[in-house]
């Protein structure tokens, strides 16, 4: 099989590490070769963060380069636009419609491009936009945005729903398992 390239992008502190951990866990159990590239350090302080997840029969590089991402899961609108050049032609964007102003916008040095998702769609890019923050709140915590989006992503893969739920159970702290499972199902469009 061809290696599948997933990018998880967002704002430092939004919980992309857990999303990649969960994905990695599930993919290894399914017998794939997997590489996950995380970010630690400076950019975790509210900066733009990128995580790569690659899986297939044999994966060499841990990185995804421009034009290679099959999926971009974006935890924030602007970040989807920032990483658009990474998307493969015909690739899929899954984006949380939440807006988090970066410092240059806050200080007035730059403007937040409000219509940027429409612009991306107008270019023929497949965009699956979801209000993950509301769904996370519905599930019980603003922190579950990451799992809501994983739920959304799960629609694009053939893995059995149970596998995903089990992966959640095996990667999150027991006391948050129920809430995260709910977030996952909401993201997936189920109750």
């Amino acid at each position: 099989m061809k290696t599948v390239n997933i990018m998880i992008v967002g704002v430092g502190g939004q919980g992309s590490l857990l999303a990649s951990k969960l994905l990695g866990h599930l993919l290894v159990k399914e017998g794939y070769d997997v590489k996950v590239s995380e970010v630690h350090g400076m950019s975790q302080r509210g900066g733009s963060v990128v995580t790569y997840v690659r899986f297939g029969d044999k994966v060499y590089s841990p990185l995804v380069s421009e034009g290679e991402a099959d999926y971009i899961i974006s935890f924030e609108k602007l970040e989807a636009a920032r990483h658009l050049p990474m998307l493969k032609i015909g690739g899929q964007i899954i984006v949380n419609t939440q807006q988090i102003d970066p410092m240059p916008v806050i200080t007035g040095a730059a403007e937040y491009p409000q219509d940027v998702l429409d612009e991306i769609k107008a270019k023929g890019v497949k965009v699956d936009a979801v209000d993950a923050l509301s769904l996370a709140i519905e599930a019980g915590s603003v922190k579950a945005v990451n799992i809501v989006l994983i739920g959304r992503l799960s629609n694009y893969f053939d893995f059995d729903k149970q596998l995903w739920l089990q992966a959640i159970e095996e990667t999150v702290a027991p006391k948050f398992a129920q809430m995260n499972k709910k977030a996952f199902l909401l993201g997936r469009g189920e109750k």
Partner: protein, 578 residues
């Protein structure tokens, strides 16, 4: 058992299985998790040392005491540890000793992009370079055998894309090891000239023996493709990019032991390929070796010595191909890292910026005070350089600068290398004002304990350095503590200390907002009717405050209730939450 591990966790597992007894390190991205993971194994004694020199010397002591030991640091940490490193090369080891060093090409979280491979070469110490987590694990184990067999410390070099990338590792069990009995060996361990002179030739002989070993050691792997047009010599993460692009279609010499490199094996490889290419990030270390042994590779004539690579770079340079992609027409504003809402550093920086002081800075979360809108820093060089630097600055510029210059340094950084600079200020009498930003944690690298926090790496209570008393003992008479959430008292403290005619230390004390025991207060609220859109609050650069429809608004999900913004509002529009 197969596990998906980041390189750092895999390395820690390797240390564990090799029977390591002592690990001492100082945090630094991307090396930090090596020690954090090692600390999870009860069989290993693990600690955060105050700096990398201490850590390396602790590992040396443990080796001298007959145990297998290790230390870990980032590339710039190795500069600090260079002094013990170079002479450790002479003493050699008793228990095997491994020095893990993580480089950061592309400077994801660093102040420079130096290439640690040079250290191994100039200290004449073997260096291994794993290419994924599985190798990080197996090389860590094997490194101890080399260390003991060749009587030398061994370095393991990783980079961000090894340290922080997860790949599959097949782990095993720990082999417990008895301490090697202690024996006094002055000629081996006392490096004064008489003994050291006898040691140097032994080091040179060792390098010869290691070069011999490198000719067909397990760490270097050669693959010959059917087609002999191109042969690539590479190592570490670059190997993965090369394989990603070419698979098995070209010949590859993968170097796992970067120092010393083999001679004959590389010549043989070169003879079998038409075009010899080196793919390596940063400096031409492999390329220089190939030239030194008479080969004519292409390397930096094709590839940059700046930043990190990816498969796209290899494809572009060697195949002149790139993937199609799409871009937005709209400009996308940057999203630089920022100080968190409620960060205790923000208040004091606001005061320094308001007073238009010259501020010599240091390294930590507080370096972010350099960014807009605070723009509060004038310099950042390396850990500790703020305290030593202000002394030089004031000596050079005299009276005038002393009245409007301060320096800032974090608690961990002060313990690391700020203290000696402070002694110098006291001893050589410069009228300098040193501000210690004490947030009770090593923040930037992800919350490690340090000697000022009162806890050790395991989170158990430990001796706590009393910064006030320490500064007094180092010779500073004027030492005072301020709360950075209280802008008025910060300002008067800074004014008074700048006016004083002797050196002083101001400790700006408030624990990091992200610490578990720190509870955020209810979010503040803006009374839109009272807000006159003066934007005074925006001068703080708090991510929780923005302007919507001309009025300030505070994002309740982000606000930590520090109320620093409230102190700036002349119209009483910002209300404390309930």
């Amino acid at each position: 058992m197969k596990k998906l591990l980041i390189g750092n966790a895999a390395l820690a597992r390797g240390l564990y299985e090799a029977g390591v007894k002592v690990v001492s390190s100082y945090p630094g991205t991307p090396s930090t998790e090596i020690t954090e993971f090692a600390a999870k194994y009860d069989e290993i004694y693990c600690e955060w040392a105050p700096n990398e020199k201490v850590a390396t010397e602790v590992a040396f002591g443990a080796s001298l005491g007959g145990a297998r030991s290790a230390c870990a640091m980032k590339h710039v940490g190795l500069n600090v540890a260079a002094d013990p490193l170079f002479t450790l090369s002479y003493t050699g080891v008793r228990g095997g000793m491994v020095i893990c060093v993580a480089d950061d090409p592309a400077m994801h979280s660093s102040q420079n992009e130096q290439d640690s491979r040079h250290y191994a070469i100039s200290a004449k110490v073997p260096m291994l370079e794993p290419a994924d987590s599985s190798e990080a694990y197996s090389f860590a184990k094997a490194a101890f055998d080399i260390s003991e067999k060749f009587d030398t410390p061994v370095m393991i070099r990783t980079c961000t894309r090894i340290a922080h990338c997860q790949s599959i590792v097949d782990i095993g069990e720990r082999a417990e090891r008895d301490l090697i009995p202690y024996e006094k060996q002055p000629a081996k361990y006392i490096m004064m000239p008489g003994y050291a002179k006898k040691k140097h030739p032994i080091v040179e002989e060792r390098t010869k023996a290691l070069t011999e070993f490198a000719e067909n050691c397990e760490f270097n792997k050669v693959f010959f493709a059917e087609n002999s047009d191109m042969g690539i010599v590479t190592s570490g993460t670059c190997y993965q990019y090369v394989k990603e692009v070419f698979g098995d279609s070209i010949s590859v010499f993968k170097i796992g032991m970067i120092n010393p490199m083999p001679i004959q094996a590389l010549k043989d490889f070169a003879n079998k390929v038409k075009r010899l290419i080196v793919v390596e990030e940063l400096d031409p270390v492999i390329e220089t070796h190939l030239r030194n042994i008479g080969l004519k590779p292409e390397g930096k004539s094709l590839f940059s010595n700046i930043g990190e690579f990816s498969q796209a770079d290899i494809k572009k340079v060697l195949l002149d191909k790139s993937e199609e992609n799409i871009n937005t027409d709209t400009a996308i504003p940057n999203r630089p890292p920022v100080m968190c809402p409620g960060c205790p550093h923000r208040g004091i920086y606001y005061v320094l910026a308001k007073m238009k002081l010259t501020v010599l800075g240091d390294i930590g979360c507080y370096t972010l005070g350099a960014t807009p809108p605070l723009n509060a820093l004038d310099s950042t060089l390396c850990m500790g350089a703020s305290v030593s630097g202000i002394h030089g600055f004031n000596k050079a510029r005299g009276e005038d600068s002393q009245k409007n210059t301060v320096c800032v340094i974090g608690d961990s950084t002060f313990m690391h290398s700020g203290m000696t600079g402070l002694v110098n200020i006291a001893y050589n009498a410069s009228n300098s004002v040193v501000i210690i930003l004490d947030n009770s944690i090593t923040g930037m690298t992800g919350h490690q304990q340090n000697p000022t926090t009162g806890y050790n790496i395991k989170g158990d209570p430990a001796a706590k350095v009393n910064l006030e008393e320490l500064c007094h003992s180092l010779g500073i008479n004027r030492v005072r503590v301020v709360d950075p959430y209280d802008l008025a008292s910060c300002e008067s403290a800074v004014k008074e200390e700048l006016a004083a005619d002797e050196p002083s230390v101001i400790i700006s004390r408030r624990p990091c907002m992200l610490l578990k025991y720190v509870k955020a207060k209810p979010a503040l609220k803006v009374d839109a009717d009272k807000c006159r859109s003066c934007k005074s609050c925006m001068r703080l650069g708090c991510p929780a405050i923005s302007i919507k429809d001309g009025k300030a608004v505070i994002d309740a999900t982000q606000c930590a209730g520090c109320a620093v913004c409230k102190q700036l509002c002349k119209f009483d529009a910002i209300k404390e939450g309930v």
